[in-house]
């Protein structure tokens, strides 16, 4: 076997090592070379292609579109951002999007934290795996399928209406409430999983110690569990917040006529063909998310993703 040559004792009249062996030796002697080779492709892709594309689109935001020809005019101007700021419609939409993202994150935290806690600390270990599977499984069912399922359920006379009828209520119908419900539904597993992983790592002995020192469950939760699981919560919230902020598909499916930032971007590219303005609008969620990520980094949440 060719690969065996290095494993047997070296003989004096051994032929010169092959090219592969020499390359291996070179790599072994030069860790920096190894590192550069390892980093070359990922960085070429992510920095040059991806960050490059992001930079280009950001640059485009400072250009304008000629209203007659529809061509992009490449002169520096702040008109797009000024329009974005001055037009009350866009301010409303931006605030609404932030509100939706915050509401979705809040709902998912309130629902996800107890569920993750139950999975990691209360359920018998034997059932944990099944619970994780139960939470993970819907992640693999397509996004559209789930949004569509809610469209069917929220439709007039659908399951929600039927279920609420005995209480004299009716479902929210299509609109902003429906959007928040569906987004919270879609991103819930993204909140549960990091929190579950964080809680699973938390030794039970800490909880027992808190109990032995006289802390009631609520106190243990506040003073021991919450601070330790906080980075995981923030990690989960990155998903719920970001995914909600950029969404325009769910809005189209269950949102009625309400618009979010994503829809403005989409409409400006598709119907209006105004890429520079779309780019300017798109910088809003980017700036928000970069701020969010920078804040999240301090909590160590990025390591929990």
């Amino acid at each position: 076997m060719d690969d065996d040559q290095g494993l047997t004792a070296r003989e004096p009249d051994r032929p010169a090592p092959g090219l592969r062996r020499r390359a291996a030796a070179l790599l072994h002697r030069r860790p920096r070379l190894r590192l550069s080779l390892l980093l070359s492709a990922p960085l070429a892709w992510l920095v040059v292609v991806y960050l490059g594309a992001l930079a280009a689109i950001f640059l485009t935001a400072f250009w304008t579109t000629d209203t007659f020809t529809g061509e992009v005019v490449r002169t520096f101007t702040l008109d797009n951002f000024r329009g974005l700021w001055d037009e009350p419609v866009y301010r409303t939409i931006a605030l609404r999007s932030l509100g939706v993202a915050a509401a979705v994150t809040a709902i998912d935290t309130v629902l996800g934290l107890p569920m993750a806690f139950y999975m990691a600390k209360v359920a018998r270990p034997r059932y944990r795996t099944y619970l994780v599977i139960a939470i993970l499984a819907p992640l693999w069912a397509a996004y559209l399928v789930k949004a569509y399922a809610w469209r069917v359920m929220l439709s007039e006379g659908g399951l929600i209406d039927e279920a609420l009828r005995p209480f004299g209520l009716s479902g929210p119908g299509y609109g902003l409430t429906a959007t928040v419900i569906v987004l919270a539904y879609l991103w819930l597993p993204y909140m549960i999983l990091p929190v579950y992983t964080g809680l699973e790592r938390l030794p039970d002995s800490l909880l027992d110690a808190a109990g032995d020192l006289g802390a009631r469950p609520l106190r243990t939760f506040r003073s021991v569990v919450l601070p330790l699981v906080y980075p995981s919560l923030v990690a989960g919230s990155i998903f719920t917040f970001s995914l909600s902020l950029g969404d325009y598909i769910t809005v189209k499916i269950v949102g009625g006529r309400g618009q979010l930032i994503g829809n403005v971007v989409y409409d400006n590219i598709g119907a209006a063909g105004n890429l520079p303005f779309a780019a300017a609008v798109a910088t809003v969620p980017v700036v928000v998310m970069l701020g969010y990520l920078a804040a999240a980094r301090r909590t160590g949440a990025l390591r929990e993703l």
């Binding site: 290095g6 494993l7 291996a24 072994h28 190894r34 590192l35 390892l38 492709a41 990922p42 960085l43 892709w45 992510l46 292609v49 991806y50 594309a53 992001l54 280009a56 689109i57 107890p114 569920m115 139950y118 600390k121 209360v122 359920a123 599977i133 139960a134 993970l136 819907p138 992640l139 069912a141 397509a142 996004y143 399928v145 569509y148 399922a149 069917v152 359920m153 006379g157 399951l159 039927e162 539904y185 597993p189 039970d204 109990g211 469950p217 243990t220 995914l243 950029g246 969404d247 994503g262 971007v265 989409y266 590219i269 890429l275 779309a278 780019a279 798109a282 969620p285 990520l293 993703l305």
Partner: protein, 269 residues
């Protein structure tokens, strides 16, 4: 932790409620795929297998499934290479900007999909169009690979951190060169992490619609795009529903494999 029976009950209730909320919509889709009523009246008036056979005969849907599989495989293959390389660099070396590498890997999924979508679409138009490459399957794969890297990266990084370097050092001491060590020691250790990451990456790609909308040309209609464009057509509703149901049923397979793998890895490590 000792909880009062009331707290225990409350937690169990939230868990049960959460699971119910998660699964009821999926069940509705499954039931509707055999609902005899064309408009999905509730409760169903009767059951039929007609929609399933209709969906199987649907040419557009079949093409779309095929395109999605191709895109998923392509993106996953690229992500496997890129993610593993980046994970090795971050796990095994100290260098300036190491934290930044983690950030730039996470960025494509941390930023809203629509931003990634328009940025890549714009870049493709500017760079690839003059080269005669239009938007199509290739650009979809490039777009998907960009945000799939993180799944592989995370899995491999976690595994590398857990296994440490002692086995590799032993291998080198025994005379194996860099490549042999990778092939016979490092890679077998990584295999299950790679499979788990690849599954996740494939699922991510298979499901993605926003980035795809902007990077797919006319020739590359993935399944989500097909479903979305037929979602509001009443006469396609049964087919859409069957596809949705099929996706729900099929989603059990990868999750089962992934869970097996991670459970196996835990007992070995």
């Amino acid at each position: 932790m000792t909880l009062s029976p009331a707290a225990r009950f409350a937690l169990r209730a939230v868990m049960a409620l959460g699971l119910a909320v998660i699964y009821v919509p999926l069940l509705v889709v499954l039931v509707n795929s055999v609902n005899a009523d064309r408009a999905f009246g509730w409760p169903p008036s009767g059951f039929t297998g007609r929609w399933w056979s209709q969906a199987l005969d649907n040419e557009g849907a079949r093409e779309a499934v095929l395109t999605s599989v191709k895109a998923g495989l392509g993106a996953t293959a690229l992500a496997l290479v890129l993610g593993t390389m980046a994970a090795f660099a971050v796990a095994r070396y100290r260098f300036f900007g190491r934290e930044a590498v983690s950030l730039v890997v996470v960025l494509p999924i941390a930023l809203p999909g629509i931003v990634t979508g328009i940025a890549l679409s714009n870049a493709f138009q500017v760079v690839l169009k003059p080269l005669g490459i239009g938007l199509g399957l290739f650009t979809v794969i490039v777009g998907h690979a960009t945000f799939c890297v993180v799944t592989i990266y995370n899995n491999v990084l976690a595994r590398l951190r857990r296994t440490g370097t002692s086995l590799e050092e032993a291998s080198a001491d025994l005379g194996a060169d860099t490549f042999q060590t990778f092939r016979y020691v490092t890679f077998p250790n990584l295999r299950s992490a790679l499979v788990a990451g690849a599954l996740l990456s494939f699922a991510l790609s298979f499901d993605e619609i926003i980035v795809t909308t902007f990077t797919a040309g006319p020739g590359a209609e993935t399944l989500p795009i097909w479903i979305f464009s037929n979602l509001f057509r009443p006469n396609q509703a049964p087919v859409v529903n069957v596809l949705a149901a099929a996706l729900i049923v099929l989603s059990v397979v990868p999750i089962w494999i992934a869970q097996r793998l991670s459970a196996g890895a835990r007992t070995v490590a």
